[in-house]
């Protein structure tokens, strides 16, 4: 069965420092991978997606993610975080085919930014 693991529940990073959020997936075929961000009390916003092609994908708000098939990973990165990046981040893998069309989410990583 497909699954997504985000091993870090909480991460604290200093403003201006670099960020990497980890995501590992389990999927039998070519995965479709996503990163979403959620600010408190709000819905989820799509940051970026990987379907095929270049394994380094660029997203909004200066984020990027790299797909590594050999490591079953899709880690999210940002070279310099801003206080406004404090939020919860979710990695997801798509499950498609037949009458199925859904995303399987990880449990999220809560990012705190310290001045």
């Amino acid at each position: 069965a497909q699954s997504v693991t985000q091993p870090d529940i909480h991460i604290t990073v200093s403003e201006g420092a670099s960020l990497e959020l980890r995501c590992n997936y389990s999927y039998g075929a070519t995965p479709y991978l996503f990163w979403y961000v959620q600010s408190p009390g709000q819905g989820l916003q799509l940051l970026l997606k990987y379907f095929s092609g270049d394994t380094l994908v660029q997203g909004i708000k200066g984020f990027e993610a790299e797909f590594k098939r050999s490591q079953s990973s899709f880690n999210l990165r940002k070279p310099s975080v801003h206080w406004s990046d404090a939020a919860e981040y979710f990695c997801a893998v798509g499950s498609y085919g037949g009458a199925t069309n859904k995303l399987i989410f990880g449990t999220g990583t809560l990012l705190a930014i310290q001045p």
Partner: protein
């Protein structure tokens, strides 16, 4: 452009009362529609999804139900709420069919069952 609405934004209901949460999408046709629940400190749990009218899949057995009376309307209901139904309910849509598409989320409904 496409827009997704949810209402109400917040709701406080006593145990045993009925529930109706509504989600509508504008600017697209034949979308796939989804209901998720997010309990405090936990990830997203997919409750229902629909790839068309009269095509609703249930992911988790519970006292909730979903209906899709119109192409772009998705309703989450309960006849009798439980304390464990408290949480943040999110509706989402994607392009229709079974292709690989991203989902777009609404602003959510905060439900507190007392």
């Amino acid at each position: 452009s496409q827009t997704i609405h949810q209402w109400p934004a917040t709701l406080v209901q006593p145990v045993g009362s009925p529930l109706s949460l509504e989600c509508t999408v504008e600017g697209t046709s034949n979308p796939n529609l989804y209901w998720y629940r997010q309990a405090a400190g936990r990830g997203l749990q997919l409750l229902f999804y629909s790839i068309g009218i009269d095509q609703i899949s249930s992911e988790v057995p519970q006292n909730l139900s979903a209906s899709r009376p119109q192409d772009r309307q998705f309703i989450l209901s309960s006849k009798k709420l439980l304390l464990s139904d408290s949480g943040f309910y999110l509706c989402a849509w994607s392009r229709g069919g079974t292709g690989a598409y991203e989902q777009y989320f609404g602003p959510g409904t905060r439900l507190t069952v007392t």
